[in-house]
Every structure is written in C-alpha cells, then in structure tokens.
C-alpha cells in the first residue's frame, strides 16, 4: 500500500508522464498527415494504448517498416497525471500562503484535463450548407451516419426513426420499432464502399439482387473498400437493407450516404420511398442529423477579395433564426471570428460554393466550453501569484547578496528537500 502511494505521489512519475505526453503528442501530430486529425485524435488521445508504426509513405520504408512504437494513450496518461497530482498534493502539501500559487496551478490543471475529457466525450461537430434564400432546420454530422425510416403521412411533421450505423457494424441486423409495421434487415454493410453499375464492374462482381429504389433503377452493386481517414474526405457508408413485413419481404434497397437530395456540386438523387398499409415511408442512410428548434435561413452571403487577388478580405453570412414572419425571428451576421451561438451550438463561417451564393457553416456543440476559461484563469493566477511571491521574497524580503534560508537547506532527504524548497523554487521566483 505504501509502495503504491509512494509510486503515485512521486515526482519521478510526474516527469515520466510529462515525457510520455510529449512523445505521444509528437507522434499523434505526425500521424495526422496520413490519417487526418479526427482519426488520429481518436487513436492517440481518446484511447488507452496506441502503436505508432513507421509510415509507408516515408523513405526507407522497405527497410524500416518493421519499426513500431507502443505508447500509452491519452486516456491512460491523463488520468495518471491527475492521480499523480492528487497524491503528490496530499504527500507534500504544507499549509502556508507561499504554496497558494502551486495549489492554484495544479487545481487549474486538473480542471483543464477534466474539461478536456468531458469535451472529447461529448463534443459533436456538424455542418450546414445553405444557398441564399434557403432555410434548414437541421445540421449534419461530419463523421457519423444514421439509417432512417421516415414516415411522411402527416402533412405537418415527418416522423423519423433513426438507428446509428455503428449498431450494424457491430453485427446487429434486425431493426424494429413499435411504431413501424415492418422491420429492416441489414443484409450488407460497408463503412466505405465503391458503388457502380453491375455491368461495368470487374468480372465476378457480386449481384446483390437489389429489387427497389435507386439500386434497382440503375442496376447498382457495391463492394467494400478500405475506409479513408484523410482530412476532408468522407467514407461512402453504404448498406443493403430488406424491408420485411409480417407477410414477408417487400424488397431490397441500397442505401448510401452519397444518395443525397442536396449538396453543392454533387449529383441529386431521388428519395427512396415505398408504401405499406397506405402510408408512405422513406428509407435512407444519411449523415446523422441534429434538428434545431427553429430553422436557419440564409439571406445573403458576401465574399470580398483583396483587389487583384483571390485572397479573401472577408466572408459573411446574414441569416435569420426562427419561422419567417414570426415575432421572435431574429437576424444574425456570421463572419470570421464572429460565430453565432444558438441552441448550445456554435455556427461559424467555414466555406462557400456555387459562385459565392452558397455558404457552409461548421457547427460545434461542446457542453464543456466554459471550463477552459475558468481553469485558465485559475492557472494564470497561480503562476502570477507564485511569480509574485517569489519575486517579492527574493528581492525585498531576503537580504541582498546571500542565499535565502530555504536554498541552504541541504540536510533533508532529496524528496523532502524538494518540498521544503518549493516555495523558494517555484516558477519564476
């Protein structure tokens, strides 16, 4: 027990963890070239362990390709640092105003780490494309997809049944809901797919026996290909689904997140609908949506350039929030460094297309966004306090030309000495 306490409270562990963190961050940066930020972030900073391997793209891969470096991931190093801080605090803390700075710094750090963990677990990133004059009441996820069945029988509102695709990548194939008179059976799934007409594929291309929808109309098939993790690329997530009623199967559809009804510079696909018991349903695999309480409408997108160049001088989008004509509709101008905050989401100007008539917003939801502000304030106060105390005691309290008493204390054990000296040896004393 004592050994465990010794281990977790030792500054050796602190130094080791700081060194490991530095190395982890370094390799977690390098791999972004090949795997993109999002995937690398998951592998390195949202995991317990990670293995870095010599990239295929690097020179000398034939000789050095065997090199692999196992590292503890962010979810191991972070909690260990927090534990280490707590144990060290209770082992070394001696009350006194000279220690306030150190305590504040470390408390702020713990808060920062916890906030970062919370953010990593809960932060969602979406986007929203709007053409001028268009409005939309949902944002779409950058990374995740959902399989949906939409009941359009009510003219006022659609009823959407949604299943995250992660479910069937784990093998769940039967999707049911009490509100639906049928079930979906996922008979094929590809995280990333190549979709092409059956007759244009290579020999032995599997015939998936698609009977309904776009897949049947265009005689399509798909094969699974390696998922991409590059920045700016998205997997063509595709599934093959049967609609099965108690009376038997009603057809087979290919659903894919590229079968979109709207998007700049992309083909428009018809909705895939079918009728059961006189009601019309739509089936789709699409970017996961989050619906907003009220629609956002783009009034005007502006984009000025510096004269004679293509360098953007500014971009801005003027939008309204709320039902047009309603009393609480409000206007907002979204431009660089001035995002719109709405419904716990932050909308910022990210891109544009179609000759400056379409605007894209990146939309981020982060429930822990206030934490870094507080922790930063605390740490900065701590650093300044430590600095101030040491500065004052060094230059005003200690007699000039002689070492302070604390720095002459050579008699205690190494670790004791460290703590005894901490007030005199804090940051910027």
């Amino acid at each position: 027990m004592k050994a465990i306490h010794q281990f977790f409270s030792s500054i050796r562990l602190t130094v080791l963890l700081l060194a490991v963190s530095t190395v982890l961050v370094f390799f977690g940066t390098l791999d972004q070239v090949h795997f993109g930020i999002f995937h690398t972030q998951q592998r390195y900073f949202e995991s317990l362990f990670v293995v870095w391997s010599y990239p295929v793209q690097w020179p000398g891969h034939e000789l050095l390709g065997w090199i692999e470096l196992p590292l503890p991931g962010g979810y191991l190093v972070g909690p260990l640092l927090v534990l280490n801080l707590f144990f060290a605090h209770f082992r070394y803390y001696r009350s006194g105003w000279r220690k306030t700075g150190i305590v504040l710094i470390h408390a702020g750090l713990v808060l920062l780490l916890v906030g970062q963990l919370w953010t990593q677990l809960r932060q969602k990133e979406y986007f929203m494309w709007l053409a001028e004059g268009q409005s939309n009441n949902y944002v779409e996820s950058f990374h995740t997809d959902e399989l949906v069945v939409i009941d359009r029988s009510d003219p006022d509102r659609d009823r959407v049944y949604s299943w995250p695709v992660e479910a069937f990548s784990r093998g769940q194939t039967e999707l049911r809901h009490p509100g639906l008179p049928f079930r979906l059976r996922v008979v094929g799934y590809a995280q990333n797919a190549a979709i092409f007409p059956l007759d244009q594929g290579p020999p032995n291309t599997p015939d998936l026996n698609v009977t309904r929808g776009i897949g049947a109309d265009r005689n399509l098939t798909f094969i699974q290909i390696a998922p991409t993790f590059r920045e700016g690329e998205r997997n063509v997530t595709t599934a093959l689904v049967d609609v099965v009623t108690p009376d038997g199967p009603r057809g087979r559809w290919i659903v894919s997140n590229v079968f979109r009804q709207r998007d700049p510079m992309r083909e428009f696909f018809p909705r895939q609908t079918f009728e059961i018991d006189g009601r019309e349903y739509e089936v789709a695999l699409r970017f996961e949506r989050r619906y907003l309480p009220e629609p956002v409408k783009l009034l005007e997108f502006r984009h000025d350039r510096y004269p004679g160049t293509d360098i953007p001088f500014n971009f801005s989008s003027e939008v309204t929030l709320g039902e047009p004509g309603s009393d609480n509709a409000r206007r907002a101008l979204i431009y660089m460094n001035n995002p719109l905050r709405y419904d716990d989401l932050t909308f910022y100007q990210a891109s544009f297309a179609e000759g400056d008539t379409m605007s894209m917003f990146q939309v981020v939801g982060n429930p822990a966004r206030w934490i870094p502000y507080w922790s930063t304030l605390i740490i900065t106060l701590g650093l300044l306090l430590q600095f101030g105390i040491s500065f004052v005691s060094r230059f005003y309290l200690a007699p000039a030309g002689r070492p302070t008493p604390a720095s002459r204390d050579n008699t205690t054990s190494p670790t004791r000495r460290t703590t005894a000296r901490q007030p005199a040896a804090g940051p910027l004393q």
Binding site: S21, I37, E125, Y306, G308, N337, Q362, L383, A425
Partner: protein, 634 residues
C-alpha cells in the same frame, strides 16, 4: 580575476568596432545612390497595386529580384545593378532587360536543357531561356502538383517556371506589349489610329481599316491585361478605399481601343519609357514628376506611408541588425579570452544598438502591415529573435559578463537569416486572410506564444554555451556555471508562463471563432509539447532528478521541440494553422535538430577545456551569483 584598466589598445579596438557599426548604420540609413542622372529613386517611389495592396514600386522591384534571383542585386559581367536599377530597366526597357542574367537555376540538369555547362554559373537570362522554351514546357507538365513529391530536379524546374511566370506577370506594367513587332512605336501608332477613327465617317473605308488595326492592337492588349498582375493605373475616383481595384496598363489600353480615351497616366508612362530608352535623363525625370502628380490627383501621392515603405526597404534594418548580432557574438566570445570587462561591455552596447534597430524594423513592418507585429511566419522569425534579445538584455544589464549575449546573439542572427530566406517567397507585407482577421487575438495570443519560443531558444542557447564551455572550450568557472544554471532556470520558468498563457489564449480564440477550445491541430500540439517540456524541466530540477548538466541537455532538447513547434508543424500541411509548406526548410530543420543533438552529446564528453584562460568576469552586480532560481546545491 584581475581588475582591468582600459588601455589605449583596448580603446582603439573598441573604437574601431563601434566606428564600423556606426558607418554601417550610415550606409543603411542614407538614400541609395545611383550612378546616373536618371532619378530612379523617384520612379521607384511611385505607388502601384500588387498583392492586394498599394505599395511603392520599389517593394515590387526588391521582392521580385529576391524571388527570381534570391539576391538583392544583379551581376552581369562587370556590371552590377541594384534591384532598383534592374527593375527600372526591366520595366522601361524590356528589350535590354531580357539579356540580364537574373534567373537562378538550381540544378545542373536544368542548365543542361538550356545548353549551358553546369559548373559555369547559376544565373541565366530570359534570352538564353527562350530558345529552349518548348523543351522546358514539356518538362513542366510532368512536375507533381504537391511540392512534397518533387525531386530536386523537378523542384528546380518548378522554381524556374514560377520565376518566369512572375517575370511575365510584371513585364507590361509600364510599357505596353509590342505592336507589330515594335515596342517603341506602339503608343504613337495607337494614338494615330484613335485620332483617325475620330476623324473619319464611321461608315467610310478608312474607318474600317482603322477598326481592323485597332482590333489587332486590342488582341495584344487583352493578352497583356490577362497576364499582368501589377496594376499601375488607379481608378480616377477610388480615393483611398483599400478595396478599390487598380487597372493594369493592358486593360487601360484595351479600354482606349473601345472608347478612344487614353488614360493620361498611360501616356505619361509611355513617354517616361521612351525617354529612358533614349537616354534623356531630364525628360525622364520630368515625366516621373508628371506621373507622381497624376497619381496624387487620384489620392495616391507617392509620400506618406508609401515613402516610408520606400525608406524602410532601403534601410533594411534586419540586415543591419543581423550583422551587428554577429559582432556581438564575436565580442562576447572574445570576453572569455581577453579583456573580459571591456568586451562584455562592448557586447552589451552593440547588442543594445542592434536591438534598437531590430525594434524599429519590427514596428515599422507592423505599421506597414497595419497589424500587430506577428502575422505570418516571416514576422514570427523577426519577433522570436527580438524577444530573445530583449530577455538577454535584461540578463546582461544585471550580470554584465557576455554569457547571455553570447547565447542570444546567435539566436538573433539566425532568426533574421531565417526571415531573410522566408522573404524569397514574395512580399513580406502581406494582406491578411479573412480567417486571421482579428487584431485583438493577433495582438495577444500570437506574441505571447512567440515570446514563449524566444524564451525557449534563449534557455537552449544558454545551455549550449554552458556545455560547450564546460566540456570543450576553456572550462566554466564555478561562479559562471552557477550563474548560467540560474539563468536557464529563470528563463525556463518565464518560458513556461508565456507558452502556457499563449497556448491557452489560442484556445480561447479558437473557441470564440470556431466553437472549440482544442482541436489537436499540429500547431496546437506543438505549443502543448513546449508547455509539457518546460514543466518537465522544472519538475526534474525541483525533484533533483537531473544534474545541472542533465538540465542543460533537457533545455537544449527544448530547442528541438520549439523548432518543431515553430516550423516542423507547418511542414505537415495539416490543420487550420498550416500556412505554408517549405521544402528547403525541411533540410535546415533536420540540420538544426542534428546540431542540437550533437550539443546534447557534448554533455557526456569528458572535460577537454581547450584554451583554458582561468576565469570569467565577475558579474557586475551588487548581488554576486544571485539570480532568480539559483540554488547552491548542484
């Protein structure tokens, strides 16, 4: 330690050093002299619009030559032209300028295409390139788009292609394209045609002939209008609106073929060029005056900020500061061998001089940008060196012994050299992309992080001085060793404070702008690595996990991490901060990393102590050996 008396010899040596620095300063600050009656300076003071802003033609002259030749002057046989003289000739007498060897060719095989023996020279003229243009064009097609994938041959080819493109895009800024093979009579022919058209009945046969001639002209002008990026004719009513778009000469001439009205400025430029080619200096000077008046009437008088930029260009404060930093280093190193106090004082005052000029240059550049001091990689290099020297001046003011000066001067010098090489990509006074358009954050987050870099480089550099002296040169007396340990410790503390606050301010900027505090972007990660490393050094020291030598080695490793964060992360081409991949820089980054690893390895050498002199100047202070953070136990 012997006390020192200032001898006559010392006074002479020190006097010479300062005289040199003073004369060099005068040379920089005096207007450039041209060995001719043509008022070239006045011509280059005329404003133009290029790269999204209005600037003196002088800036275009210098940056163009830097980009295509990587030099500040042209050597043609025995003749030597300054950037200003070359550009004037290039703009006004293109037929002569094509003979000037200004294109830098960096690969023997590219020279081979041009039929020039590889070892002969590095510079070729456009007239030497043109006969081989088709071969070059076919080679250009095979250059990979991504610069990371290019071989050195392809990189040299691409560089030549870009240089020719730049040359071409500026060629018709002041003189129109040749008409019917004649470049000197174009204006006269155009005016004649316009007059004839006005004089004749639109339905007459003569008018038809004139129309045909004009449409021939128009084709040429349209091509020039498309290819020229340098705009020399402001709109008559633009005033000082920064977004008012100027016209280039080609489009002005094209407009004239339609409307019949020739912009008087275009006429003045043509007359100016004719006078220049005819060697008529008086006529040339009076036409330059006319052009200045016409520009002034449109709200662009060649004074004020334009004149200041012209002065700033030729003053070139960073070149001066770099030379003086070199002197500082020599003086500081000399202080360990002979006349410790005298040379330490010399180093300090030289450093103060260089720092004053460096500071002026930095703020002048910021004034020209209309932005806080750090906005791009170039200005960050200027600022990193500045911050390091500033910190060092505080240390040297207190402990006048040349140690901090010897550590900071190389950082100041190297960062300015880096900045100089970064300027090869074009005008350093760039317009700001909208994404960075926030003066508040540019003025807080960026300088704070950059001062963190400065402090880390100073700590690392002090550690290099410590190890090199302790192990190889002269040996390090105990008081100096302890002083350096204290300095490194204090500077690392400072570095931690600034790196941390700067990084977090960046996070807050990101949250304010993009709704997320931290995105694991390479630049953010780099900053985080610096913070982690500084914390590691401090904890290792507090817990006595490393000897003083070990701490020094850790501080030198901090140099590597800082260089990675500053430059390496930009080379990855990932994320929001990726504002420029530089392939040549990768080599230098690796070289720097290896040099620092070598310095770390020095810490494991036995003490050689070559050139042992026996002592250092005692710190000239009332608290000897006392420095923030200094402790007696090693």
């Amino acid at each position: 330690m012997t006390t020192e008396r200032t001898t006559l010899l010392q006074r002479i040596v020190i006097g010479t050093v300062f005289l040199f620095a003073g004369l060099l300063f005068l040379r920089h600050v005096m207007p450039e002299r041209h060995d001719t009656d043509f008022d070239i300076a006045a011509f280059l003071a005329l404003p133009v619009q290029d790269g999204g802003r209005v600037k003196p033609a002088d800036t275009v002259a210098r940056t163009t030559l830097l980009v295509i030749a990587n030099r500040t002057n042209v050597r043609d046989g025995d003749e030597r032209l300054s950037a200003a003289e070359w550009f004037t000739e290039f703009a006004l007498n293109p037929a002569r300028a094509v003979e000037r060897p200004v294109f830098r060719v960096e690969h023997p095989e590219v020279m081979g295409i041009l039929g020039i023996p590889a070892d002969d020279r590095m510079y070729v003229s456009l007239s030497e390139i043109l006969p081989h243009f088709d071969t070059l064009r076919s080679q250009w097609e095979s250059i990979p788009g991504e610069s990371q994938l290019r071989s050195s041959y392809e990189a040299a080819l691409a560089k030549l292609r870009d240089a020719i493109g730049l040359y071409d895009s500026l060629s018709h800024a002041y003189t129109g394209p040749p008409v019917l093979g004649r470049s000197d009579t174009g204006l006269r022919m155009l005016r004649r045609a316009l007059r004839d058209r006005a004089d004749h009945d639109p339905d007459s046969e003569e008018a038809l002939t004139v129309e045909n001639a004009l449409s021939l002209f128009a084709g040429n002008f349209a091509r020039a209008a498309r290819s020229t990026v340098l705009a020399t004719v402001p709109p008559p009513d633009g005033g000082d609106d920064p977004l008012a778009e100027w016209s280039n000469l080609g489009s002005v001439l094209l407009e004239a073929t339609k409307t019949g009205n020739l912009d008087p400025l275009a006429v003045t430029y043509a007359e100016m060029a004719a006078a220049y080619r005819a060697g008529d200096a008086a006529e040339f000077n009076s036409r330059v005056d006319d052009a200045a008046n016409l520009l002034a009437a449109r709200g662009h008088a060649p004074g004020g900020k334009i004149a200041f930029e012209h002065f700033f260009n030729q003053f070139s404060p960073f070149t001066y500061a770099a030379v003086v930093y070199l002197l500082v280093f020599l003086a500081a190193s000399a202080s360990w061998i002979v006349w410790p106090h005298t040379f330490a004082n010399t180093a300090f005052w030289l450093m103060a001089t260089a720092f004053a000029v460096h500071t002026f240059g930095m703020f002048a550049h910021a004034y020209l940008m209309g932005r806080p001091p750090v906005t791009n990689l170039y200005t960050s290099a200027i600022f990193v060196g500045w911050g390091t020297v500033l910190l060092c001046l505080f240390l040297e003011k207190r402990f006048r012994n040349g140690l901090a000066a010897a550590a900071a001067a190389p950082v100041g010098f190297c960062t300015l050299i880096i900045a100089y090489h970064l300027s090869f990509t074009g005008d350093t006074v760039e317009v700001m992309r909208a994404v960075l358009d926030s003066n508040f954050w540019l003025a807080t987050h960026v300088p704070t992080v950059t001062i963190g870099y400065s402090a880390n480089f100073l700590a690392g550099s002090l550690a290099v001085v410590y190890l090199l002296r302790d192990r190889i040169f002269g040996g390090l007396p105990a008081p100096s060793a302890r002083l350096l340990e204290g300095m490194v410790y204090g500077v690392v503390c400072f570095a931690l404070l600034f790196s941390f606050v700067g990084t977090v301010l960046g996070g807050i900027w990101a949250d304010q702008s993009w709704g997320r505090f931290w995105g694991w972007d390479p630049k953010e990660n780099g900053a985080l690595m610096i913070v982690l490393w500084n914390a590691l050094i401090l904890h290792a020291r507090w817990a006595k996990l490393a000897t003083p030598t070990g701490i020094m080695q850790l501080a030198i490793a901090g140099n590597i991490i800082t260089a990675w964060s500053w430059f390496g992360t930009n080379m990855l081409g990932v994320g929001l901060h990726a504002y420029g991949f530089m392939d040549a820089a990768f080599f230098w980054l690796l070289a720097f990393v290896f040099s620092q690893l070598a310095c770390i390895a020095v810490g494991w050498l036995p003490r050689l102590r070559l050139f042992n002199r026996g002592g250092d100047p005692e710190p000239q202070t009332d608290t000897p050996g006392q420095l923030p953070g200094h402790t007696t136990a090693g």
